[in-house]
């Protein structure tokens, strides 16, 4: 059964279609890649699914519930958690505080706790936060300010925060862009481990090769429309896809 089902997704910007009649489905337990050259509409698609943009047309169903037009925090509370490109993090907070915010959806927010609790966060939440940092290999940096972390760690912290929110569907926006081969390999391993724990993953990536070894199914967008869909092997040999990538002069190494 599909966990996420988007039908006829369309978004116009001043008459131009950034995303044009796209159907997209992600099954429970899958890793799906959404790829395409620059300006293909990947990010717009991502923003539509996570509620940061309203679709002009079309519907989005998550686990049988229509979530079209819901606001981002409402969609997040239904288990669809996204990350952002590059290092969108709470830079002036520690790594642990970032993850604690990730726990927001699953925390004790009663006014009694807020006003009269002796500590800001109960011990079990801190333990959970540290557990997530442990899992992502950041626990030794828990109390460092995020802006002082190296770039690669910051990117992983972004994923850690999303994990803390316990997603049913984790959507990663270009998680390895700007990383070297070694770093991106480690992030992709992490992604596979996360999937191994039962989380479904939708990955947006510009770099085609990075996702080939990880994704089971790939959807290719070009000019806002779905160009191809299939296994990595099928997609990478599709003449349309090769044309699209070469045609825009993008280096897909």
């Amino acid at each position: 059964m599909s966990l996420l089902e988007a039908r006829n997704l369309t978004r116009l910007f001043g008459g131009l279609a950034a995303v044009n009649h796209v159907d997209l489905s992600v099954d429970e337990g899958e890793i799906v890649g959404l790829i395409g050259p620059n300006g293909a509409g990947k990010t717009t698609c991502f923003n539509l699914l996570s509620g940061f943009l309203r679709p002009t047309l079309g519907s989005i169903v998550l686990a049988g519930e229509d979530i079209t037009g819901l606001r981002p925090h409402q969609i997040a509370s239904r288990g669809l958690i996204r990350t952002f490109q590059l290092t969108t993090l709470f830079q002036e907070m520690t790594a642990l505080e970032n993850v604690l915010l990730g726990l927001h959806l699953h925390s004790d927010k009663g006014p009694r706790r807020v006003l009269f609790g002796r500590r800001a966060f109960p011990a079990d939440e801190i333990a959970r936060g540290r557990e997530v940092l442990e899992f992502t290999g950041l626990v030794s940096h828990a109390d460092q300010l995020t802006r002082n972390l190296p770039h690669g760690h910051q990117r992983v912290l972004g994923i850690a925060m999303a994990l803390a929110a316990r997603p049913r569907l984790l959507m990663l926006d270009e998680p390895v862009t700007g990383m070297n081969l070694d770093e991106s390999g480690r992030v992709m391993e992490l992604v596979k481990t996360i999937r191994g724990r039962g989380t479904t993953i939708l990955l947006v990536e510009h770099n085609m090769r990075a996702v080939m070894g990880t994704c089971e199914r790939i959807v290719v967008l070009n000019f806002g429309q779905k160009l191809a869909e299939g296994t990595p092997a099928e997609v990478s040999t599709s003449p349309d896809v090769i044309q699209a990538y070469l045609g825009t002069g993008v280096n897909h190494a």
């Binding site: 940061f52 981002p72 925090h73 997040a76 952002f84 907070m93 915010l101 800001a120 966060f121 929110a165």
Partner: protein, 323 residues
């Protein structure tokens, strides 16, 4: 541990000084400091909204609502001070909701513009609703504050009331800032879309932070009304609203004590030319200089000076190899 001890010691000294002030200071200082405490409440209560990245330039309007409401309840309906004070604060909060709900969903500048215009709206209402507020003749004959039926008729008694109100306000605000709520406010101020993606209802939290500020501005206004016992619409205008903002920026945005330092420092320093244009000139220059040259505010001054000294001692004794 040493640091904690130092902080504790500092707080004790401050508390003793505040308690003893009426003993060695005259009525003049008692009066001034009661007003300084009011300013501290105003400045500190703006902080939650600012932490969320919302520029509220209309805080004086909510002070005005608290002041007029409390004064009228006490004067016309003989409501006890405690209840009229609370009534004023609650009305300020309710009005804050009505203004904040439509404007906080949008980008910050909308909210900033709406709050500026709202200062004028409240001033005009206070000015035009003559049967109730006496308009430009000013509202006088406001009863002195009372606690449990006992009227605080001396300046000293009222001073202690201001002190208690300020400490209670600071305690609540401090507690909230160091709770989960404070972390959420900071997260919204730093990257609101990221907070949203983690399930934070940012519109609700911005509104909550704003209404909290309105409540305490109402408290400050209520105390002010019964302390000065005369209300005049233009007092709560744009200038007072910007002063509250100035306290926060000049004091420093990075720490809870920032607005407190800013309010105390600027209120005392501007005292000699209160009411003249030079007060405003002083405030605006202080603000411009701080923003341009000390963006972290006065609270970062010790660290800046220490860095400067470190730099001097570190660079002075080592002769350059070329020499």
């Amino acid at each position: 541990m040493h640091r904690r001890l130092g902080v504790l010691l500092g707080l004790v000294v401050l508390a003793v000084l505040a308690l003893l002030l009426p003993q060695f200071g005259g009525d003049y200082y008692v009066h001034i400091f009661a007003l300084v405490f009011t300013n501290v409440i105003l400045a500190a209560s703006l902080r939650p909204s600012l932490t969320c990245g919302q520029l509220n330039i209309g805080h004086s309007a909510f002070m005005s609502i608290g002041a007029y409401t409390s004064a009228l309840l006490a004067k016309n309906l003989a409501v006890p001070f405690e209840i009229s004070l609370l009534g004023g604060a609650l009305l300020a909060t309710a009005v804050g909701w009505a203004i904040g709900y439509p404007s906080l969903r949008l980008r910050g500048v909308y909210f900033a513009m709406v709050t500026v215009a709202f200062v004028e709206v409240i001033r005009l209402i206070a000015q035009l609703w003559v049967p109730l507020t006496r308009g430009m003749s000013g509202l006088s004959g406001i009863p002195k504050p009372s606690v449990l039926g006992m009227t605080l008729s001396t300046r000293t008694g009222q001073y202690y009331l201001a002190l208690v109100l300020m400490l209670a306000t600071l305690l609540v605000l401090w507690k909230l800032e160091h709770s989960r709520l404070g972390l959420i406010w900071r997260s919204i101020g730093m990257a609101d879309h990221l907070a949203q993606s983690l399930g934070v209802n940012i519109a609700r939290h911005k509104l909550l932070a704003f209404m909290l500020g309105c409540f305490f501005a109402g408290i400050a206004g209520g105390f002010y009304a019964h302390f000065i016992r005369f209300l005049f619409p233009p007092e709560f205008g744009f200038l007072m609203a910007t002063n509250i903002l100035v306290y926060n920026y000049v004091g420093g945005r990075g720490h809870f004590v920032g607005p407190i330092v800013g309010a105390v420092f600027l209120s005392l320093l501007s005292e000699p030319f209160r009411g003249s244009p030079y007060e405003t000139i002083f405030f605006s220059i202080a603000m411009l200089l701080t923003i341009l040259f000390l963006p972290g505010g006065l609270i970062t001054l010790p660290r800046k000076l220490a860095e400067l000294r470190w730099w001097r001692t570190a660079s002075a004794p080592t002769p350059s190899p070329a020499a």
